[in-house]
């Protein structure tokens, strides 16, 4: 799989400059994705809410569907005078919008758009996304505190309480999927959901329930729909956003819409198979690294063309095309998720602060924890990723042990293992050596 950096090394430049360019391109691409998603969702929100309320939404601005409305809003907000209230703490007031936007932007770093298309392939990607999403609350608290007005402080406090209390069930839902997949690396989770529709995580009974808990917590975490307490117009006028105007306000809103895309994207990867479409079209057409059928033909044509212009390395176009198809799948799912968020926002009234807290502590957290227990039992009854991964870890050591002379030093077994060995046949998981599988105990190791 040729990555962009290798492609760039063909340029006659010293390596460290090449790395800088590669980094810059990836950052620019991600920024474009974040901003475009915000712009598109502003337009989508207007259109969907219009349809729900029996009206047409923007139609006159640029063509029939009013698609020039978001740029028009952007220009309008650019020209608006953004004033800083007298009682405001000036430095923090200016800083707050950027913190909340950057925190949301960092989430895009770890989101894989297709099989290899991810800015930073972390093996703690899921955990990293949760950690960074938690930072967004700083921007809001600072914004609320530094605007100096009693109302915005009220809004900031409500928002902080809500976002923090909803981080816990959100983390629990992600843990459920991580247990299912055995790894925190989002690319790996996506890859495990390849193939037909029923390979997606959502078709695991426990993960299905967790999906709905995840949706609730995602709504609460991005402060939308029934949970948008901080900007509760009827009570706190506009919560912590009261004093912001002009382009600083846009940053907060860009942050919110980008967060909406990020959260629905994460949901798509964890539960709805990320870039894998319901029907494995790319596998049929052979658009993968070792192409066959149509894929092979495209590859041959592509390399024939590149050979002409002097690049002789093998550039596999088929895989690139397969990834493009995958990215379309991912974006469609994310946009569908965002549309549902908009749809819920315009039909449900707002919850009260204590009801928000009770739904979190009395409903989301218990259900999520139950699902974790459920998935644990599930992975022991029908082993899947988790077990395979652990054995993959131990396999090189086991071969090594066999090779070494059998002078087994006295070793106390670490845990009284309750698990039992499972014959190979029962395993749904393909691959792995054809030996009886070790499950979680060290006595196997000694044999």
């Amino acid at each position: 799989m040729v990555s962009m950096t290798e492609l760039l090394t063909l340029l006659p430049l010293p390596s460290w400059i090449v790395l800088t360019i590669a980094g810059a391109i990836q950052a620019a691409l991600l920024l474009v994705v974040a901003l475009c998603s915000a712009v598109i969702f502003i337009w989508l929100e207007r259109k969907v809410s219009a349809r729900i309320q029996d009206r047409l939404g923007p139609t006159r601005v640029g063509g029939r569907f009013g698609w020039l409305q978001p740029p028009a809003d952007g220009i309008k907000l650019l020209l608006k005078e953004d004033l800083i209230p007298a009682a405001a703490d000036r430095a923090l007031y200016r800083l707050a919008p950027y913190i909340s936007f950057c925190a949301t932007f960092c989430v895009f770093l770890a989101l894989p758009f297709a099989a290899g298309w991810v800015a930073l392939q972390l093996n703690v990607a899921a955990f990293f996304v949760l950690a960074v999403a938690g930072l967004e609350v700083f921007g809001v608290i600072l914004g609320g505190y530094s605007s100096g007005s009693k109302w915005s402080l009220y809004g900031a406090m409500r928002e902080a309480a809500q976002v923090i209390s909803y981080e816990i069930p959100l983390a629990l839902c992600v843990v459920v999927v991580v247990l299912l997949a055995g790894t925190m690396d989002l690319v790996e989770i996506g890859r495990q959901q390849e193939g037909w529709l029923w390979n997606w995580n959502i078709f695991n009974p426990f993960a299905f329930v967790t999906f709905w808990v995840y949706c609730t917590c995602a709504l609460a975490n991005t402060n939308r729909a029934p949970f948008d307490l901080p900007e509760a117009e009827s009570e706190l006028v506009a919560g912590f956003l009261t004093e912001y105007s002009g382009f600083r306000w846009v940053y907060f809103f860009m942050g919110e819409y980008a967060a909406m895309f990020a959260v629905s994207g994460l949901g798509a990867i964890l539960f709805l198979g990320g870039w894998n479409g319901p029907v494995p079209v790319s596998q049929w057409l052979g658009l993968s690294v070792d192409p066959h059928g149509l894929g092979a033909w495209i590859d041959a044509a592509g390399n024939w063309a590149t050979a002409h212009i002097g690049i002789h390395e093998h550039v596999c176009f088929a895989a690139w095309l397969g990834n493009l198809l995958g990215m379309c799948n991912f974006v469609i799912k994310a946009v569908l998720g965002a549309t549902c968020m908009i749809w819920v926002r315009w039909t449900m009234p707002r919850l009260r602060i204590d009801q928000v807290m009770t739904t979190c502590l009395k409903y989301c957290v218990p259900i999520a924890s139950a699902m974790i227990a459920g998935v644990l039992v599930w992975s022991f009854v029908f082993p899947s990723g988790v077990v395979a991964y652990v054995t993959a870890q131990l396999r090189p050591a086991i071969e090594h042990r066999e090779a070494a002379p059998p002078k087994a030093p006295a070793k106390k077994t670490a845990t009284k293992s309750t698990a039992r060995t499972i014959p190979r046949g029962e395993l749904g998981e393909g691959g792995g050596a054809g030996r009886s599988l070790l499950v979680y105990g060290t006595e196997e190791v000694e044999r």
């Binding site: 093996n123 703690v124 990293f128 608290i141 870890q393 050591a397 090594h400």
Partner: protein, 220 residues
Amino acid sequence: MGPINWQTCFFFLMAAIACGAAIAVVISSNIVRMACWLVLSLAAVAGLFFLTGAEFLGAVQLMVYVGGTMVLLIFGVMLTARGPFVSMKIGAAQWVVAVIAAGALLTVLLQAAFGTFGQTQGKPIAAAGSSRELAASGNDVADAASYSPLGLGLIGVRIDRLAERDHVLRGGMSGYLLPFEIISVHLVVVLVGAAYLARARRRMVPRHWRGGEQPSGVED
């Protein structure tokens, strides 16, 4: 001049942010400004963790420390930062004494730090600095992904020691199971303590009495 090693560049950047923010915390008098500088400093430290390949630790630092503890502190600041308490200055004399003591401590630590310069020269991590390269660089760690060895270390299987032939280094195979259990018990105790300290005050206006009937004066 040689190729710029991005690894070092980012290290100096992150180190500069961390130390600069720490110094700013000491200097600034407004409690809210101090809290913000501290958040920046902790985030920079998390960046340092990521740089050295300890991704799991960096993520934990970001989530638990910056996302949890600092928000707790900011809540405390918001609750108490009323009126005069926002910025309290102390006399110059105390400053002088404190700076002298700190200076002495700093010289001792720096001397110790530079003492180790010669011995352990780390293997340069390849440019990309991500854990995949770390694995490829020949360390015989089963899998450079830092969280699974960490996790297994916590539950008592030191898989990074399995391949070790040197008898001394194979010791401690039981990993950190015992401290892990102690920590969890400790956290439960802290939770109970915090809950007791911050329990809701008894309400003069009973919750069930939501306006309407006259207050019976008895609270639940």
